[in-house]
Symmetry: D3
Subunit: 341 residues, 6 copies
């Protein structure tokens, strides 16, 4: 395989801590040639720190440079996922875009269409797919250990986890709150277990009481006056084959556990808990609880970057693809619409 | 207050173990004068065992007897709740009817209308209202400790708890499965926290995979071939003021805990867990977990019988009344309808 | 099936508490017609207490009585297992004999031979075979879940459990100490997992330090001066197919746990722990620990008596049979011989 | 005392991580002058890293160099323990040889004989002797707190701990599997409690089922096709004074605990558990469990190196000496012979 | 020994539940001939229930009856301990008096003087002396295991344990609150470890905040308006030999544990915790925690009654004697005096 | 505010590890200009390490230097607290002096008087005041959550924590043992809850048994022959308003926990435990246990240094001030006097 040339768009924490180290750890597959940030100082600082040849504050220039990239990692703010991804696809680049896919369902659809038209890989960075627990859950499901899965409880709940930095409470930049930032992760995992089929019925409620009231923050203090998004969202999704998902996600909720990221999966032959991974089933006619004490820790970003590169190389990959991203974004939009009623 | 004359209709376990002992423990308020069962032998055996003057196998005879009752405890099978309650109300008796109120919403409505027309008390035996945990939860809510409650998770889940006796899997007698038998309890509790308002949107799914497949039973073995009801039901209820309830109930589910009866209540000022009762809130600007280690055990049937007698005597009472029963039955029906789609 | 007539020989605690209640609980299969004890007062007292028609102090008379028994429960002291079992077999009775089979290997061999010659069932009361844990272990083994079992650690250890009553420390009556009384139970269970094959190599050590020194007793005080048996025995058994058993048993040992009865079973596909029953294996390529939280409690004496009656009726049965008892007694004798070296 | 000149033979992990740092930490007692490895690059790299003056790939040259060593640390592969130790002794060096002493009992005997003949110290690096727990156990034993020790269970068990690197599964290099690599440690500890007397009876079984079948590895993946050694060994050792040892060791076994290194020691006055160190005894006529919560952590390699240097200086030392090594190697050989039957 | 004739004065719970059953369990040593209560109906009811020949409502009559007692159990209210004990001693009876000895120090002194003058045994029913934990603590101390004891923390603390019945909050009847009812128990135990020497310095504080404020009761509700005694008392006692006791006792205190009865004993060689009994010391130069997992349960009232009868028979006894009772009462009085300052 | 110039007197561990880093972390408020130590080499080494301009071995010179300090951190040995603090105050410096304030009460009084006379801030470094637990406790108290506090148990107990270095056992340098070094911390905290009022009655006992006997040390070995101070001190303080404190402190005590630093605070409305911070109270008429799971970790020395600088700047501050230090020193002296009786 030829070594692909990669460029980063977006100079924030997630570029610095996740994507650049993952790319740098794969020199036999990818070469990081450029970084682009609105703020040229940020771009240059990261380029220096990580030994990246080129720094830009204008994506168009980057795409026109001699050493133009084959693929783009789009780690800009949510509202920029769509424009920069479109621009990259138009420039015949593969794109790994941060989650959520976009702000609107129509945007994610457009992005998927363009990727298909241009024959490029568009993928989303739902890196929780790469945890050893989810991999094992998928394997168990694929091998028939769960039977048919008919109900999933998907939770991403924080007690007081409204980030005190960034734009997490700004609706026009983020497109939403807990659902857009956290809930999409476990929604993606749950959909992955149901073949990423699309629900035919959705009902949801969203809230912003605690976000607007303020209080103790476990991720820094937030500005209650500028809190524009939902701090909690509860939804029920029903699918054509009668499977169902209960989704619960919060930035802030009066609950005991500070951070609870989990799936409870109910199948005809066994149930599964994601964290810690467990199976509940019958063995020799008796109820059995199975625990898996030795799952190996994984660098999930590295694994997801590899999955993206595999897709770029035409290999099988468990990355969240463009079509899945479009389904997910339609569901997110439907949840918000249901909540507005 | 005069001592009220009571009669029991229905000669099963719940009469023998719950209602008769409760009535017998309150001799200063009520006198148990008769018991009526389709099976006269059962009726006579219970009358002998508990020292009840009269035994009947025909309710009409009972209502015409010299020592006619002032109130009826209706502990017949679900499909008989409506006819015997109507007959009792027509005979100017107060009625404490076992849960669920009826099989159909229209029946519960008719029962409530007749009670009102005849000026009689009609109440339902949701005795979990009387646990010390729920009493404390209500007190905390009423005194403003939770702020405004906006979301409730109501669970009544059994891992393998399909009863191996009785008619629990017979749809025409029971009207349904886990929801009719178990879910209604925690639904009643949750509605009680929301002022028993009526949801304007409902979505639900029901399942019968395990019930129809058979397997290990923790409450005796059941006949998978005669399993006609749902073994699990998941629903989302949304209310006009934007509050919401997630209801989960099962006779059988591949989950760890054998029996899980709980409410998680999320309010603007505090969250509450019902069992063990706990509050999650802020004190002096810090997150606090409050536990209540010394709640006193209660005879919940006795307390509910007293609540019913208080209602008969025109006193304030926290019994589930006829109007509430009608609301609950409409919700149950709406859940089943949603699940049929 | 005709109802069999049963008689008890031996008027001690184990007759009163275990065997008679079990027989009495099975009136459709067995009728208890007589009890025989050296002490006619004991015999009569038990006959009165349990409503048994006849009481004897002479077995020969019993066998000649009009209402002569079809089967005998021999619950005499160890050294009487042989003579009374021989007498019963000679009188054409089936025999359920208490464990251990006898004092000497030759006795157990003689007993097995006579049973075969007379076409009678001779069985031994190793009732731990009937625990739900051992039943499940056997089922898992038979269904191939463990693969091939190659090593078993069989423990029956007490910290200070020398009984302060009876003849447990008298060598001529008991034939031995911890091994004869306790170790035989777990040895029988372990052999049952290996097809009751006979080891070709045995090494063992026995001790009596604590028994002869005296000290704190958790089952009453014992007379250190009359302590004639081993208080601990450790042995290694190797089988022709290379399987092996490590047997550890004690009346008294300086160890933490007061009473430790357990098997650890190591198979090619899974390992098992008997108490609490657990399996250690691999699932989906990962190490898994399986626990079985809902095994039902069992009346193990009742189940063993039924197993004996099944054998008498020619049905399949998991009772310890005469041939197995002879194997076990040869092993016990070999252990003692090895320890004498 | 003069400062001794030391040289290392063997350039692997154990030289780099254990022996060189220990020697370097004792500049007042020993000077590390040379390192010898078959691979001169390895030798030079270690010499550079640790500031060692000379590097060789030929031991003979090293012994002839001007700065010839007074003592040798032999940390070569097992099959080289014998030749290099013999060569070092012939060159009048003291030797601290890694465990096991050798592959064959005859080798270890030869090595001990030559050491005695040349008046040199030959010792083996059983560094677990230096843990605070074993030191305390020895002290308690020596001061009579255990009374007479009569049985020891010595365990070194791994669930899936076949190293995925090195030569651990190569029989000609290692001489064996779990027993040679792991079991010898706890066997040495147990023998140390019994005065290193020699057993007069041994029985053992070895297995290689899991090693040859492959599966999940907790210490990397291993090559099941090249698995030539035992993955588990169970043995019973009986001593002339009737003491006994049960030895259990495994690279791979279907058991719960990933790594279990322990001794259970049974004495007439008290029993002891090594990890965590505990005593089980009687105080004031009552059973007592004693725990020792504040044992200090120790650098056990440093302590063992000091013990070796003490021996070289003619001081009392608890190092495993040449005679003990010969006894241990004879037992290992006897175990393997018994297992072959 | 002749069988002693006993009579009970006081017809309350403690007579019925503790003293009468203990006396009745010792027919070979004592015969219960009479019971005397102010309320003749109570006396007769107890006499009937327990098969006691005579019932009186006048002690003088009892002492003059034909079947006059040799010993008296005085289980009247605290303020009657003095008059009835004096009367009994004057009538040449031995007396076992309930704790506390009296209301005033002078009373206890008078009682001791009269007992000595008349040569009768006067003893107090501090039955916690008979727990297996305290017996073991005393044995350990007497055998030198603790070295010299220099400080004791004696706690009898209840969180909300003001009895909702009886006269526990009435100062003229009880003489005090938590100290008189609860604290005296652990004070007696602590003094027993220090040879019942008398402190030369005392400082104390008492409180009644919670008692007078009311609130949740774990032993029934109490009448805050009639709360006349201390609900908590903290005192420091210093002895001529520099030993010291910290005494803490409460009926009600805002603390976590509902009931905390314990001694922490600090000696030069070891410290001890009473419940659960533990020793903290050094063994082989290491800190050791000793636990005693198998202490046998005891009927402490029966053992204390036997101790009293032993004293009456002139045998050694660990009963609290008249002189000790006088010391204890002086300390109690000194504590109250210190608290008044 | 102008930046204050600071100098350190005392070149030990506490200067190096605590005070210098804290000052260096606050460049906007304070500039560290000099360090003075008896040992000029120590002074220079610290100056080099921390980039401090000037190093002295003579305080007088330092006060006369051009760059003379505005404030002094006095971290000399206890017996030098008085002379150097007096010298600093005379030179018109603010002083933050290490605890305890001094050796004698008169010294602390003199120091407070001079500070007042010269209008300088004198404060003591009781940095435990700055833990998040104590801050929360104070806030809860100030907001009335505890009601009125009437009893405090203040513990600073070590099992074997006599430091094996420094002068901790030297009476003339330290002024005392556990009380001077450890007890003063929790005494300061307790007094802070009672408005730093002064007790009118004190009783105390001190001991030195373990210190003089020697044994296992958890903080290094100590020289039992040079042990001149108390290893344990128990005291009871009673205040004019009837509040009381039980103080327990030890370097060495036969107790389970190695280090136990805690306050138990008993108030009329709630009780509090300092570590982990908890409240015990009533909510809705039920007993409640409140835990605070998310208190943020704090750099307590940094916070205390800021509190001192705030005081220097005339801002409100929770630093221990000169008057409080004088009260505390009087109490310490009274405790020692009481213990001498």
């Amino acid at each position: 395989m030829p070594i692909l040339k990669a460029a980063i768009i977006g100079g924030g924490h997630i570029a610095d801590q996740n994507h650049i180290p993952a790319l740098k750890a794969l020199p036999e597959r990818v070469e990081l040639v450029a970084i682009c940030s609105r703020d040229i100082h940020k771009a240059r600082a990261l380029a220096d720190k990580h030994d990246i040849p080129l720094a830009f504050d204008n994506a168009a220039e980057m795409f026109e440079s001699d050493n133009r990239p084959d693929l783009i990692i789009n780690c800009t703010a949510n509202h920029l996922h769509h424009p920069f991804t479109m621009q990259a696809l138009e420039n015949n680049c593969h794109v790994l875009c941060e989650k959520p896919p976009a702000i609107l369902a129509a945007q994610a659809g457009e992005m998927a269409d363009l990727a298909q038209k241009n024959g490029k890989v568009l993928a989303y960075n739902f890196q929780l797919r790469q945890t050893p627990e989810y991999s094992l859950l998928k394997r168990a499901l694929d091998n028939g250990r769960l039977g048919e899965v008919y109900h999933i409880k998907a939770n991403f709940l924080r007690r007081r986890g409204i980030p005190g930095w960034g734009n997490f409470t700004n609706k026009s930049i983020q497109g939403g709150g807990a659902l857009m930032d956290l809930g999409v992760h476990v929604l993606d995992l749950a959909l992955g277990l149901l073949g990423y089929s699309e629900p035919d019925r959705i009902i949801a409620n969203t809230y912003d009481y605690i976000g607007k009231a303020g209080g103790k923050g476990l991720m820094g203090g937030w500005d209650a006056e500028k809190f524009e998004v939902e701090d909690a969202c509860f939804a029920h999704l029903s699918f054509p084959d009668n499977a169902s998902i209960t989704l619960s996600t919060s930035f802030a909720l009066n609950t005991k556990i500070p951070k609870n990221v989990n799936l409870e999966v109910f199948g005809t032959k066994a149930g599964a808990m994601l964290n810690p991974f467990s199976l509940y089933s019958e063995v020799e006619g008796e109820l059995v609880d199975m625990e898996f004490p030795h799952l190996e820790e994984t660098d999930i970003q590295l694994k997801n970057t590899i999955a993206f590169l595999d897709a770029c190389d035409g290999k099988p990959s468990n990355i969240c693809n463009a079509a899945q991203g479009a389904v997910l974004q339609r569901i997110v939009e439907a949840i918000y619409k249901s909540a507005e009623k």
